[in-house]
C-alpha cells in the first residue's frame, strides 16, 4: 500500500513539474500582464520601471528558477490581479468549484445507476429507449446551450402561447409549459455557512441550495448521458455471464441478482472510467461557471487568461494537475476495495 502511495506522489510531483515548465515556456504568448495594472495614460518609462520591478524583463530561465525556488517552499508567487499569494486565491475559489462537482456527481450517481440498470434489464421497453434517446441527444448538446436554455426557462421564466388559447387542452398545455422562473441564475447566494478555512458551503441553506440547482444540473448534463450508456453497456455484458445464470439457478430474486450480483460487477469499469471523468469535469466547470458567474476556480482561470495573470495561471494548472492525480489515486483505492481480486500494489491488467 505504501509503495502504491509513494509511486502516486512521485507521479504528482512529475505532473506538476511538467505543467509548470510548459506554462512558463508559453509565458509571453499569454499577453502582457501590465495592461491590466496600469491606466492607459501611463508613460512608457513608468511601465518599463514597473516591468523591471516585477522582474518581467529577466530571461525566462531566471524567472523560472526563481519560481521553482519559491515553489519548493510552497510559495507559488503572487497573483498580479488579486495582489495575494496565488495559493490563497485558489483556496478561496476552490470550494465553490468542488461544491459544483460534488452536486453534479450526486445528480449523476442517483440518476445514472437506476436508469442505466433499467435500460440494461429491459432494453426493448419504450421507456428505456426514451432514456437512451435523451442521453444521446444530451451528449450532443454543448453545455453552454443547455445552461442558457435552463436559465431562460427556470430563472427568467418563459410564457408559452404556442397552443390555441381558446381550447381547453390548449390552455392547459400552455399553462403546463409556462414557467415563472424564480430560480437564481447567478452566483452562490449570500447565505453560505462557514465549514473550515476558506470553505463556505451552500449545501446547508435553502438559498445556497437554490443557487446550486441550475449550475449543477447543467454540469451534470454533460456527464449523465455518458454514465447511463456506460452502465447500460457494462450491465448488459455482465447479465450474459455464467454467474448471473447460476444466481438465477439458485432461485434468487431478480432484485438481488440485478442490484447486487450484476451491479457490483458492473460498477468496476464504471469506477475507473468515472474517476477519469471527474477529472475532466473539473475542466468543464470553466464553461458552466462562466455562464452562471459561479465564483469557482474555472471562472478565476478564465479571467486570469483574459488578464494574462501568469502566476495565477501557472498555479491553477499545477493545482488541477494535482487534483487529477489525487482523483486517480482515489479511484484506484476505491477500485481495490470493491474488487477483491486486485491487490493494492498493481492494477489488474
Amino acid at each position: 500500500m505504501l509503495a502504491f502511495l509513494v509511486q502516486r506522489i512521485s507521479q504528482a510531483v512529475l505532473v506538476m513539474f511538467v505543467i509548470s515548465v510548459i506554462a512558463f515556456a508559453i509565458q509571453d504568448g499569454l499577453g502582457d500582464p501590465l495592461q491590466e495594472m496600469v491606466g492607459m495614460s501611463v508613460s512608457m518609462e513608468e511601465r518599463e520601471a514597473l516591468r523591471e520591478e516585477l522582474g518581467l524583463n529577466d530571461s525566462m530561465v531566471v524567472q523560472y528558477l526563481r519560481f521553482a525556488g519559491n515553489a519548493l517552499q510552497g510559495d507559488l508567487g503572487n497573483s498580479y490581479f488579486y495582489g495575494k499569494p496565488t495559493l490563497e486565491v485558489i483556496a478561496e475559489h476552490l470550494p465553490a468549484t468542488l461544491e459544483l462537482v460534488i452536486g453534479a456527481s450526486l445528480i449523476i450517481m442517483f440518476l445514472s445507476v437506476p436508469i442505466g440498470v433499467y435500460a440494461a434489464i429491459r432494453p426493448q421497453a419504450w421507456l428505456a429507449k426514451f432514456f437512451m434517446g435523451v442521453s444521446t441527444v444530451g451528449i450532443s448538446i454543448p453545455v453552454f446551450l443547455t445552461a442558457i436554455v435552463l436559465i431562460q426557462i427556470y430563472s427568467i421564466g418563459v410564457t408559452i402561447e404556442w397552443f390555441p388559447e381558446d381550447t381547453g387542452w390548449g390552455r392547459w398545455l400552455n399553462g403546463a409549459f409556462t414557467t415563472e422562473g424564480g430560480l437564481p441564475s447567478y452566483g452562490r447566494g449570500d447565505e453560505l455557512t462557514h465549514l473550515f478555512g476558506t470553505w463556505y458551503s451552500g449545501f446547508f441553506s435553502t438559498d445556497g441550495l437554490m443557487h446550486l440547482v441550475l449550475p449543477c444540473v447543467s454540469l451534470a448534463s454533460i456527464m449523465l448521458p455518458l454514465f447511463i450508456r456506460l452502465i447500460r453497456a457494462e450491465m448488459m455484458e455482465v447479465l450474459q455471464s455464467d454467474y448471473i445464470r447460476y444466481a438465477r439457478a439458485k432461485g434468487l430474486s431478480s432484485m438481488r441478482i440485478n442490484f447486487l450480483h450484476a451491479l457490483k460487477n458492473t460498477m468496476l469499469p464504471v469506477i475507473t472510467v468515472g474517476g477519469v471523468q471527474v477529472g475532466v469535469m473539473v475542466a468543464y466547470t470553466i464553461l458552466t461557471e462562466t455562464v452562471f458567474q459561479w465564483p469557482g476556480v474555472g471562472l478565476m482561470f478564465l479571467e486570469a487568461i483574459t488578464r494574462s495573470d501568469i502566476p495565477l495561471i501557472v498555479a491553477y494548472l499545477m493545482v488541477v494537475g494535482l487534483i487529477f492525480v489525487i482523483t486517480n489515486t482515489l479511484v484506484d483505492l476505491v477500485y481495490g476495495l470493491v474488487n477483491p481480486t486486485v491487490k493494492l500494489t498493481g492494477k489488474k491488467a
Binding site: 445464470r245 432461485g251 481480486t341
Partner: protein
C-alpha cells in the same frame, strides 16, 4: 424401487431459438422421466442439445431460446407453464444445478459465505448465523479443509477443484430432490475429475438425491448412472438402462460412440471414427438426422423420422433396429 409416478417427467419437450431467418429447433419433442434417487445420464456429441435440455428443466434458457411446447411435470406441476415467481421457489430449493466451469460459476466479487447464505435465505426464513452453520456443515460434507475460513474467502482464492466442491455444497444446501449437473468435471484436470465425480456420486446416494448428469464422457456415464439417454441433433435416439446400452448398443450412432472409446487391450489399434460431423441446427437433414453418417441408411431413413421401438428395456428410434426386431418376432412366431 420404481414408484408409480416418476419424480420428474418430461413429455415431448420442444425448445426453439428465435434467431434471424426463422426459428431453430434445439429440442425436437424429447420425453424422458427421472425417479427419486435415480441417476440418469444424458450423452451425445456437443451440439446435440444436452445442455439445452438441462437448462430447460428450470426454464433457464437464455434469450433468444424459449420453450415452444411439451410439459415438464415435477411433483404434479408443469414447470414449463409455471410463472417465474413460483419457478423461483423450486430453483435451488427442490432442483439444484451444477455448471461446467467453476471459474465462471461463482460471482468473483462476492465471498463464498455470502453466496451460500443468500441461497439458504432465499428459501428459508432463517438468521444469517444459523445459515452460516448449515453452510459450514455442507462444506465439511464435501471434504473442504477448515470450512469456517472458506466462508470469508473469495472465489479467486480457491483452486478449480475446490471451487467445484463449494458448488456441490451449494447444490446440497437445501436438500434438493434433483441435482442437474451440466458436465461438472469437464473443466477440471483429469486427476481432480475422478475425485469430484466420486464425491458427487456418494453424496447423491447418501442424500437419496436424483442426479441428471450431462456429459460427453461415456466412461463416466457407464460407472455413475443407472439409466441413460443418447441425444443426436435435438432428439433422443436411444434411452434405457445404462448397463444394457453400454453392453449391447442398438442404435448405430450409439455403437459408433462406444467403439470410439479407447479400449484397453489391443495396443496400437486405430480408433474407430464416425464419419462426418454433427449437423448444425440451421440445416438438419430430413428423416432420421443421423442418416448421412449411417452405414445402414435406407431411403426410408432419409424420408421419415423413425418411431421409437422397444428392444429389451431400451427404446430406440431406428428403422434398421425396428426391422431386425420385426424379423425376430416373425421368426419366433414362425418357429413356435
Amino acid at each position: 424401487m420404481k414408484s408409480d409416478t416418476p419424480l420428474l417427467e418430461v413429455k415431448n419437450l420442444d425448445v426453439r431459438f428465435a434467431v434471424r431467418g426463422g426459428d431453430l429447433t434445439a429440442l425436437r419433442g424429447i420425453s424422458f422421466s427421472l425417479d427419486k434417487g435415480e441417476r440418469l445420464g444424458l450423452v451425445g456429441e456437443s451440439g446435440a442439445g444436452k445442455s439445452v435440455a438441462a437448462f430447460s428443466i428450470l426454464n433457464l434458457i437464455a434469450r433468444p431460446g424459449y420453450i415452444a411446447g411439451g410439459q415438464i411435470l415435477f411433483e404434479g406441476e408443469d414447470l414449463a407453464a409455471m410463472s417465474e415467481r413460483e419457478l423461483r421457489k423450486i430453483r435451488g430449493n427442490r432442483i439444484a444445478m451444477i455448471f461446467q466451469d467453476p471459474m465462471m460459476t461463482l460471482n468473483p466479487v462476492l465471498s463464498i459465505g455470502t453466496q451460500m447464505v443468500e441461497a439458504i435465505k432465499a428459501h428459508r426464513r432463517i438468521g444469517t448465523k444459523a445459515a452460516r452453520e448449515i453452510a459450514v456443515g455442507k462444506l465439511r460434507k464435501v471434504q473442504i479443509p477448515s470450512p469456517e475460513k472458506r466462508l470469508d474467502q473469495y472465489p479467486h482464492e480457491l483452486s478449480g477443484g475446490m471451487r467445484q466442491r463449494v458448488i456441490i455444497a451449494i447444490a446440497l444446501l437445501l436438500d434438493p430432490e434433483i441435482i442437474v449437473a451440466d458436465e461438472p468435471t469437464t473443466a477440471l484436470d483429469v486427476t481432480i475429475q475422478a475425485e469430484i465425480m466420486a464425491l458427487l456420486l456418494d453424496l447423491c446416494e447418501q442424500e437419496n438425491v436424483a442426479l441428471m448428469l450431462i456429459t460427453h464422457d461415456l466412461g463416466v456415464v457407464s460407472q455413475v448412472t443407472q439409466r441413460m439417454l443418447v441425444m443426436y441433433s435435438g432428439r433422443i435416439i436411444e434411452q434405457g438402462p445404462t448397463r444394457e446400452i453400454i453392453n449391447d448398443a442398438q442404435h448405430p450412432y450409439t455403437q459408433g460412440l462406444i467403439n470410439a472409446l479407447p479400449q484397453m487391450g489391443e495396443p496400437g489399434a486405430r480408433l474407430f471414427q464416425i464419419p462426418g460431423s454433427m449437423p448444425s441446427l440451421k440445416n438438419v437433414p430430413s428423416g432420421c438426422p443421423f442418416h448421412p453418417r449411417c452405414d445402414f441408411a435406407t431411403d426410408q431413413c432419409r424420408q421419415t423420422m423413425p418411431e421409437y421401438v422397444r428392444s429389451g428395456n431400451v427404446d430406440v428410434a431406428c428403422y434398421e433396429v425396428s426391422n431386425l426386431i420385426e424379423q425376430e418376432k416373425r421368426m419366433q412366431e414362425a418357429g413356435s
